[in-house]
Symmetry: C2
Subunit: 398 residues, 2 copies
């Protein structure tokens, strides 16, 4: 772990001070810190915010750095998009290590110090995607912490052998068990969830399950997830990503479900999507539910959007939730930084003594102005180690 002295920073919107990171942890915040022999960065009065947290993405999917992929498939069918991606990825012969390096480094350049990546496990690609992303995680360990979810994108039951590959992926070191749309993809919610929870129990790992199912269908699947989480006493160990169904209009139905989610300390990851229902921050906050956010896949076969910038994602969280007050925009930022880390069961990132030495120096008049303009990142620091400077990572993407 590294030590670093950041001179002359504004602590969020507060006073100007110096920040000392010692052995990877913020050890002092005060004016005029004197630390002989410690590497020092002059920050010219720019704002210090906590390291950003990309809590839901797919590092194995991006096509950045490759010739432009012309999308003729669109977004009308989930199955169509899944099948298209498997074929395209195979036919292009994509190197998941190279692509995940490009994607992760771009995300770091925007200030992320912690990433959770779902990684496809299927019978066509086998464990190649996971191998590629884990190699990236190893290489970038000083710049960013990367956590992996073994993700059965093509279903657990449709292709013989997927469950075995998932088992191998978890033995290999994938950090969490993934899953998706127990009704919508496998058309066998009991079968799908029994495998997911069985793997979690066997490997003693948490779960992060994609749930795009809307309305009552999503609520049905969510109940089945909660039944198992309760039966297995998995409080705090289950995450539901997307959870579109929580954006349904029936607020009594949603409120009751939020109560049950809160009781099991289930965490919710959202992209704050604009074209679908979404879990609403204020309602989740009323129940104390931990929320993280992510950019999801960026520039992949699913769509051309996204750049890995979690400060822009904070803007999207704010816009999607009609957060107009300064205090609300700061909550949106928290979801994309300290709060997101908590949702990932990691130490809260914060500009506070004792917090991890993950700090982003950003230009801006105020924190809120920096969020809404996703202002330039001057410096990205992870555990006292400089990851990026002026938008350029210190490791160059392949």
């Amino acid at each position: 772990m590294t030590s670093l002295l950041l001179k002359n920073v504004r602590i969020m919107d507060g006073d100007t001070a110096d920040i000392l990171i010692a052995d990877g942890v913020i050890s002092d915040i005060s004016p005029d810190i004197n630390a002989p022999g410690v590497a020092t960065e002059e920050c010219a009065g720019h704002i210090a915010i906590p390291g950003l947290v990309e809590a839901h993405t797919h590092l194995d999917k991006s096509l950045i750095g490759l010739p432009w992929y012309k999308n003729d498939v669109g977004g009308s069918s989930l199955k169509g998009m899944i099948d298209n991606e498997r074929e395209i990825r195979n036919s292009l012969g994509i190197d998941m290590h190279v692509q995940s390096m490009r994607h992760a480094l771009q995300t770091v350049s925007y200030g992320a110090t912690l990433i959770r990546s779902h990684v496809d496990i299927d019978t066509v690609g086998g464990l190649r995607a996971l191998e590629g992303v884990m190699e990236t995680a190893d290489k970038l360990v000083d710049l960013v912490e990367i956590e992996t979810v073994a993700f059965p994108q093509s279903g657990l039951l449709l292709w013989d052998g997927t469950a075995t590959l998932m088992d191998q992926a978890l033995a290999m070191g994938a950090d969490l068990v993934g899953g998706l749309d127990p009704c919508g993809v496998d058309k066998d919610p009991k079968g799908h969830l029994d495998i997911v929870f069985g793997l979690a129990e066997k490997h003693g790992k948490g779960i992060d399950i994609h749930l795009h199912e809307r309305g009552e269908l999503g609520m049905f699947s969510m109940e089945m997830i909660l039944d198992r989480a309760e039966a297995l006493d998995m409080k705090g160990l289950v995450t539901i990503s997307h959870a579109f169904c929580l954006g349904m209009p029936d607020f009594r139905r949603v409120d009751a479900m939020l109560g049950r989610l809160s009781n099991m300390d289930v965490r919710i990851m959202t992209t704050a999507p604009t074209s679908s229902p979404a879990p609403m921050v204020k309602e989740l906050d009323m129940h104390g539910i931990k929320i993280g956010a992510g950019n999801d896949g960026i520039q992949d076969t699913w769509g051309p959007y996204g750049n890995g910038d979690m400060l822009e994602r904070a803007k999207f969280v704010g816009l999607r939730n009609n957060m107009r007050m300064d205090s609300e925009v700061k909550r949106a930022l928290d979801i994309c930084s300290g709060g997101g880390a908590e949702a990932m069961a990691k130490p809260r990132r914060a500009i506070e003594i004792g917090a991890p030495g993950d700090v982003v120096i950003v230009a801006g008049e105020t924190v809120v102005q920096a969020v809404v303009n996703h202002s330039p990142r001057k410096l990205v620091v992870k555990g006292g180690h400089i990851s990026a400077r002026d938008g350029q990572t210190l490791v160059v993407a392949p």
Copy 2:
């Protein structure tokens, strides 16, 4: 009107060629144009897209350039936000000419060559906002075309004298009659709309009415608008901004309304909002309804978001409408450029011979890549006149 030769541009995603603008109009697109004596710009193979069109904003409202405004009001009550703005604007003593210059020039720096601005008319501010914005329109006439809508933000009936001020505003040169939420604000839809349409008839001007009302209430107001448009034979002269109610789930109800709107050639302006229902591009396109888009107010007392970038707005249109295919993203761009101009009843902007000489040179691998990354604008040209270069307008904001 000005002449200009743009050398070595990619025509949208097509071939590289030169573009000659003569007397403000695109007069030739071909390789190796020779035009002695005409000012020439080397474009280094960057992409030419049509001038961007900001079809719904409020140039009199932005606080850009002023000390950061801390928002403690939020978005829970429309009336609360209206009242707050009137008071804040008065207490800060805002100069609407200076603010509209800042806002308009920032919008131009991102590539807009045509702007429709609603301008508040109320009994506190009188005609000051309109005077300020019209002064800006005059000063910037070579850089951007600015159209004004006399907009009764505080209602037409709640404050005695507003209708008279609206009449004066139109006599002074406001281009269109504005209105808003006939039920929601004045609580007198008949009274409100009779004044709006009466002013339009008297001054021979079109209408652009804000309609935030959702669900059946909005549909009711929309029907009252259509009744009057039909009775007064105002085909093609009525615009409805926001039209949130068209995003209601009852697709038969919406489809029937779209048929009626299409029949009267009513135009729809949208911001592609993320926290409210919104008119859906594909459904409107099926009825051939003209659509424009806008950033709405930017960085004002309503909220901190927005920067005037219509290429970013095209991204929002794409995201909001789940537009993932390249062809769909190009339609999103069209709504923010040529299609938006048509919705404003202005000549269509396009990279075609005979079209207005409004051209934006943008970096990017493809047009879609330029939209989703809202890539840097290299050059902004309006009617053959250079408005901005490398993000800097040639007129400096006060």
